[in-house]
């Protein structure tokens, strides 16, 4: 097929397309800086992310990353193994581009009366470029650069509502904690480099494996701990989670959706790749004296419990979703907690599936908040009362997303949580599996509270009839439909996820 006659870097086409779209948006804006054509800007951004999505899906179907002995085309290395395009990378590129497309469609209405439209869309696309690059980065340097490429536009996006105190405050908080955790992450990289003398992930594993790093066990252990800190920040997990509620609450709601779905997924892909490729459990444990999965077991349980308990006490819908997103980071962390010396592909595959489903259901839930902000109905549960009378379709879509987040069958969230549960049991993590079930049961309380508000409660005040912004509606309905439509496709999705996990684990 044609892609193999092209230079190697074209394998990064999804990320390249996203970057090109970001630049195209700047060009469009510089042609006519004084006027704003919302449709053109949002349309270009959406088309660019859909193109990237299409290429990523095409690569998966064409067998990129599938071992050649299974009839695939093998993993593609780019720039001397600084990047790899394998199934893991493509899987997460799909998640990221899908969320980007949904967010740009929804922003068409949401950003209607705001300034800096072209800048907004190009920042979204640049952040998405960074995330897609994170998915493929295969060395600590490229990982760090990609991480910063996704973080810097995100800070600006959170604070883009310059006249809104919450937005600016959230952006500042996000930036300060981001800067701190970047510094910690970078220091961690330097310690790992000091201990092993390498930055490329496989060669780090080689050094650890052949015993050259045995004298620097403490140094390496400290470095790994600091890397975990960096991942925790990007995935909004304990202990670097506390920026999330303020940033998500203050940011424009589509950006909250973007950060809590795509950015979190990108954080997880580097965590998956670094810990499976660079620090194989058994060899690393023999060098640093500790099994690093223990750290993730603790973090998973603490993160999901803290997120859910905090979410249950919120009165503000957006904050509730922010804490629920922390809880879901805890579920996905099971993917790393369950990796053991003799495998763990099922656990990691289940976590990947959860992040994919989460990309739809969580984006949908935040987009409903975006819709509510667009209508100007208010922020608390009471303000949402009785919305289903005026907007049944949007509330139906919200119901699907929330029930899926809670893990109610038959929706996508049930399946990914079930796979996490059963594979965690398989890996012997009884405590984690029980924590998952208890937290899921608890989460039903606050999700159903929102459903009760929109469907069952009576409105607290008279409302004018609500408009039906086409972009927000379309994105919300697509997110909900995909949460359901994933069901018949879950077979291939499960295969792809487990194969991708198996490939990086062996």
């Amino acid at each position: 097929m044609a892609i193999f006659e092209l230079p190697g870097w074209t394998a990064l086409a999804p990320a390249v397309l996203l970057a090109a779209t970001a630049l195209a948006l700047f060009v469009i804006d510089s042609i006519s800086p004084t006027t704003t054509n919302r449709g053109l800007l949002a349309g270009t951004a959406t088309a660019g992310s859909l193109a990237a999505l299409g290429v990523a899906v095409w690569f998966v179907l064409a067998g990129v990353g599938t071992p050649t002995i299974d009839g695939g085309r093998g993993v593609i290395d780019v720039l001397d193994n600084q990047f790899v395009v394998d199934q893991l990378a493509l899987f997460f590129m799909i998640v990221i581009t899908v969320v980007t497309a949904l967010v740009t469609v929804a922003s068409y209405d949401y950003m209607e009366d705001h300034a800096y439209q072209a800048e907004y869309y190009s920042l979204v696309l640049l952040a998405a470029t960074g995330m897609a690059t994170m998915a493929a980065a295969n060395s600590l340097v490229t990982i760090f650069i990609a991480l910063e490429l996704s973080s810097l536009p995100s800070y600006a996006l959170v604070a883009i509502l310059k006249d809104n105190r919450g937005s600016v405050e959230g952006g500042l908080k996000y930036f300060l904690i981001g800067a701190l955790s970047s510094a910690i992450f970078l220091y961690g990289i330097s310690l790992v480099y000091g201990a092993t003398g390498h930055l490329q992930l496989e060669t780090i594993a080689d050094v650890i494996g052949n015993g050259d790093a045995n004298d620097y066990g403490g140094l390496l252990g400290l470095g790994i701990l600091m890397l975990i800190g960096g991942f925790a920040y990007k995935t909004a997990s304990v202990p670097f989670h506390f920026w999330a509620p303020e940033a998500y609450e203050g940011a424009p709601a589509p950006i909250s959706a973007f950060l809590s779905s795509a950015s979190k997924a990108a954080g997880f892909v580097i965590a998956f790749r670094v810990f499976t490729e660079a620090f194989p459990v058994a060899q690393t444990a023999s060098v640093i004296g500790v099994d690093w999965t223990v750290a993730f077991i603790v973090l998973a349980v603490v993160t999901m419990t803290l997120g859910n308990f905090a979410a249950a006490t919120q009165e503000n819908v957006k904050r509730m979703l922010a804490y629920s997103s922390i809880g879901h980071a805890g579920y996905a962390l099971i993917g790393l907690a369950g990796i053991s010396a003799d495998g763990g592909a099922l656990v990691m595959g289940a976590a990947m599936m959860h992040l994919l489903v989460y990309g739809f259901m969580n984006t949908g839930a935040f987009l409903f908040v975006a819709l509510a902000e667009y209508w100007g109905v208010g922020r608390t549960f009471e303000d949402y009362n009785g919305l289903a009378r005026q907007a049944p379709v949007a509330c139906f879509a919200l119901g699907i997303c929330l029930f899926s987040l809670a893990g109610i069958p038959p929706l996508g969230g049930f399946w990914s949580k079930y796979f996490l549960y059963t594979s965690a049991l398989d890996a012997g993590l009884l405590v984690v599996a029980v924590a998952l079930v208890v937290n899921s049961a608890l989460s039903l309380y606050y999700y159903s509270r929102l459903i009760k508000a929109v469907w069952i409660e009576d409105p607290i005040a008279e409302r004018d009839s609500l408009s039906q912004p086409i972009g927000l509606y379309a994105a919300l309905v697509v997110a909900a439909v995909m949460t359901v439509a994933l069901l018949p496709m879950f077979g291939p999705v499960a295969d792809t996820a487990v194969n991708a996990a198996t490939a990086v684990l062996t």
């Binding site: 049944p392 119901g399 029930f403 069958p409 059963t422 009760k452 469907w455 069952i456 077979g491 499960a494």
Partner: protein, 511 residues
Amino acid sequence: MMIEALIAVALLGALVTFVAPNRIAGKLAFAISLIPTALALWLFSAFDGSGNALLDGELAFSSNVEWIQFGDYTISWFVGLDGISLPLVVMTTILVTLAIVSSWTPIDERESQFYGLLLFIEANLIGVFAALDFFVWFIFWEAVLIPMYLLIGIWGGPRRKYAAIKFFVYTNVASLVMFGAFIALVLGLGDEVTSFALPEIADAMVNGGGVQTALFGVDPGTLTAIVFVAMFLGFAVKVPVVPFHTWLPDAHVEAPTPASVLLAGVLLKMGTYALLRFNFTMFPEQVEAYAVPIAAIAVISVIYGALLALAQTDLKRIVAYSSVSSMGYVILGLIAYTEFGVSGATFQMVSHGLISGLMFMAVGVIYNVTHTRMVTDMSGLADRMPVAAGVLVAGAFGYMGLPLMSGFYGEFTIFFGAFGSELLAYSQVFTALAMFGIVIVAGYLLFALQRTVFGPYHLETDYEIGRAALHDIAPMFVLLGLIILLGVAPELIFEMMKDAVTPILETGGGL
């Protein structure tokens, strides 16, 4: 493909109705619901299965497509019908159609959403009875809860929010317990099963050695016992039996009439159906070991439910508590583990579905007209509403087990089967106690009828009451016709039930 067509028509109908204008939603939903009813009746006439679906029986209309492969287990879309599930599917489609017609009068806001949810529930109920893969079954089982929660919560009475959330929490926690137990069972079976297909699991439990390996330090025998008890409790909430019945009166009293009809008519049967399919088919040894406590629970439900009904002054609460009592008979029939006991229990599921549906409709019609359900508020209704009152009396007689109505045949076969049970110790004592329940049932029903329907006319409200509309009355006559039909010719469905039940008892060694 017929089962898929049945579910698909109901699902698509639900979507179409959901977006249709309120004005036509009721009629549209009725027209759509006729298709599944006709299809189900056709399935009934074309039924060619035999034996039990889980125990190597000949399945009718089955299809089996691999869906998800994760780890060592395969999940498949596996549906099919046997003599136990087919009558329940037919009953479901008929009851939904009639419930839709009976909603035309009382439901006057957000109609398209209401009828959409009714059709959505229908699709899931059919799925529950037809599914033969655990996951497919569990999906439908859980998906019933959400629309019912909304039906009660949106269109219910004054305390609807409390009742809806209570219903949801009770049944959902029960589902979680049952789900966890079943997954533990499958993990415990280890290499003996490679899928979640119920026939395969039943085969491993009954003909294989059952659970062989210890799981998390729990030895196989204890694990099986824990799973049996946990699943029994999970389903017992749904049935419901005493002491897990407290959600039922709240849900029934607050639910709008059509939702009550489905709740009593079909949702309660999900519990007994699942007990029969899982506990009583897969765990013959545990059934024997726990026979006496289960029979005790059954008899307590019969007596205590009837006594509670005796103490009520709200007509709907009386009917609601009488369901607890009636479902107690079903459990007694199941635990008897004899041919007549279990087939009688299966027959009683259908029979009670029709009779309780009829009773709730009659109470609903009276409420629509009088705007009260309190026994103390009215008297002599037969004077003003002869037809509705007549139907209510007929339904009550069905409940009491009047010969030539289906209730008689169901209860008679249960008592007959339970009395001669070899598995159940003291079966004669249990049967005698349960038969005493009939006396209380007759007592509270006659007492309530005497005060409301007969006597001089009197109504403590400001309303002038007229006759009920034809579309309110017609569904009740359809149900009454079916009740009498099954009472006169029970073999219409009893034969296929017996055929499907016998393999269970052969493996259990009961008979």
